[in-house]
């Protein structure tokens, strides 16, 4: 188990390094940030001064070295635009993203797992078709459109829910559903297919041959096996949800890190973009690691093979 963890941590660090190099280079392809930041009519010297101030006049590898070394010490630099430490900005916004993702995750599991089980048990029946339709829509409808339609119905026509901003639980419902639908669809489909595979297994056949009630066959023998991949996916998706809510947060003016990233890209605010992406990536990497370990804990076969 110890060796297993050490190896996984090694892979994780390698992924993090590759991610930081990639985002560092990509963000610099978007153009020169100083042209957006200087006042109109600024002289070439002023621009050059600003480039020097941000360290953009140095060779790329030097810039990366400075970025990487200060990242290791926990310093992610100052925002070009706000002129404040980016971590401060990030941690102001993060709780909102966490809140949104948590509610969206709960919704997606509450919808996805039971409907996936039902679809698998009644394969080919009404509930299977209903589930397929629901998940097809969830996966293919663009989130900005779902968000706008929800606002139209629940805010404009019915006046039940606030259309934007943060505050109480009412503010959360529409963004969480918009974000959660896609993931509910993903969780439903995975639960269904993994359940179908397990229901076809010999041990489920033996459970029936033992004369177990169908509820026990499905709820105990099939479900625990079928949920293994769903747990993996949900764990990763939770972190994905925190980090990919850019569109949803923009539509509902939800002040999370997705909006921060969107603003950072608009202003070519390199430190902000780097911060959001690298921290988001780290989160995904850490969760992958934790899921692997949890997975090994649930499934005794993995525990021993490593």
């Amino acid at each position: 188990m110890k060796q297993f963890i050490v190896r996984r941590v090694g892979y994780s660090l390698l992924s993090l390094f590759l991610l930081s190099v990639t985002i560092f280079l990509f963000v610099r392809v978007t153009g020169d940030p100083t042209t957006l930041l200087v006042e109109p009519g600024a002289s070439p010297e002023d621009i050059e001064n600003m480039r020097h101030q941000f360290g953009l006049d140095q060779p790329l590898w030097v810039q990366y070295w400075l970025f990487a070394t200060s990242f290791v010490t926990g310093d992610l630099g100052q925002s070009f635009y706000y002129r404040t430490p980016v971590l401060e900005l990030y941690f102001q916004r993060l709780p909102n993203s966490l809140q949104l993702a948590a509610v969206a995750m709960v919704l997606s599991l509450l919808i996805g797992i039971p409907s996936g089980i039902l679809a698998a048990v009644r394969v080919g029946g009404f509930w299977d078709s209903a589930g397929k339709t629901f998940s097809l829509l969830g996966l293919s409808l663009p989130q900005f459109w779902v968000g706008l339609v929800l606002i139209l119905f629940f805010s404009v026509y019915l006046g039940w829910l606030p259309s934007s901003g943060s505050g109480g639980i009412l503010h959360l419902l529409m963004p969480a559903f918009t974000l959660g639908w896609y993931f509910a669809a993903a969780h439903m489909r995975l639960t269904r297919s993994s359940m179908l595979e397990v229901l076809d297994s010999e041990y489920v056949k033996l459970a029936r041959l033992k004369g177990l009630p169908e509820a026990l066959v499905i709820g105990k023998h099939a479900l625990k096996n079928a949920l293994i991949p769903v747990i993996t996916l949900a764990g990763i998706n939770l972190v994905v949800m925190i980090n990919v809510a850019v569109v949803v947060e923009t539509v509902f003016a939800w002040p999370g890190i997705g909006r921060l990233l969107y603003e950072g890209i608009t202003f070519r605010d390199f430190p902000v973009v780097q911060c959001v992406v690298v921290l988001g990536g780290s989160m995904i990497i850490v969760v992958n690691l934790l899921v692997d370990i949890l997975y090994a804990y649930i499934d005794p076969r993995i525990r021993l093979e490593s």
Binding site: Y203, K205, P300
Partner: protein, 342 residues
Amino acid sequence: MANKLLSLENVSAHYVSQQGTRVVRAVDEVTLSLDAGETLGIVGESGSGKSTLALTILRLLPKAARIVGGRIMFEGEDLVDKPAAEMRRVRGKRIAMILQDPMASLNPLFTIGDQVGEPLRVHEGASRSSAWQRAIDLIKSVRIASPQTRVAQFPHEMSGGMRQRIVGAIGMSCEPRLLIADEPTTSLDLTIQAQYLDLLRELQRTHGLALIFITHNLGIVAKMCDQLAVMYAGRVVEQGPVSRVFSQPLHPYTKALLGSIPRMTEEREQLTAIDGQPPDLANLPAGCSFAARCPAAFARCQVEAPPDFTVEPGRSARCWLAAPTVHASIDQTIPLSRSAAS
């Protein structure tokens, strides 16, 4: 027939496609019977309907298949029209079954003790701790060393032979009257096979249970079984006491099967392979389904399927050659030859 433990009368189970246009006659007009404590071997090649027959008896056919006719009398009750809830209480309690793949038939996420004790908890309402204790006894009874440790282990910590013993222990847990073993030794190596067969025989003797042994290994039939039924294309083509069928096979298919086993006694011997393929069960020929491969087929075989001729008590064959008098029967109609048979 009254004192038989299990008797199947003209049981048919068919797979029907969703449109209802394609019907696969997986089990067709099967008549069989078994006394308490007796062992019946069912042999036949892959796809001949052996496993489907076993699942038919337990009413656990896949969704696409259903029992379309016949009666399955078990301890005086017809299982065919038993309500689902009562049928569930027959499974594992009065009729148990061992599947062929020991590596796949145990749930990887639950302990051996949990899985062995489960039927006791469900059928006899045993508490968690008493089911655990009895699981230890059962594991001991299938001759697994240190049952106290084994009971808390997971399936992946055991060898294939041990797992198949565990599956056997699960089958025996509620002391069933009938155990159906579907090729239980196919995936085990030879020495383990022999041990496992000995174990099954011992369990059978001590518990007085009847055994249906599904196999394609005639050597195992000779060793284990009292009665033999040979299946071909969903039908029982010949049945009778093992010694009689082996010494005097009536059906050309049985003869061919017996001719395809290598013997150690003679120096060199031509093994006979059976030419051709079994027929498509969705599109059976008009006559005898073995006619196309049969070395002894004659004109009538192509046009008319032979009924089940009873040759002597407990011994029958579906072959015109087994008709009471072959030449006379050529002109007989089927109802007549049936009455002659019964």
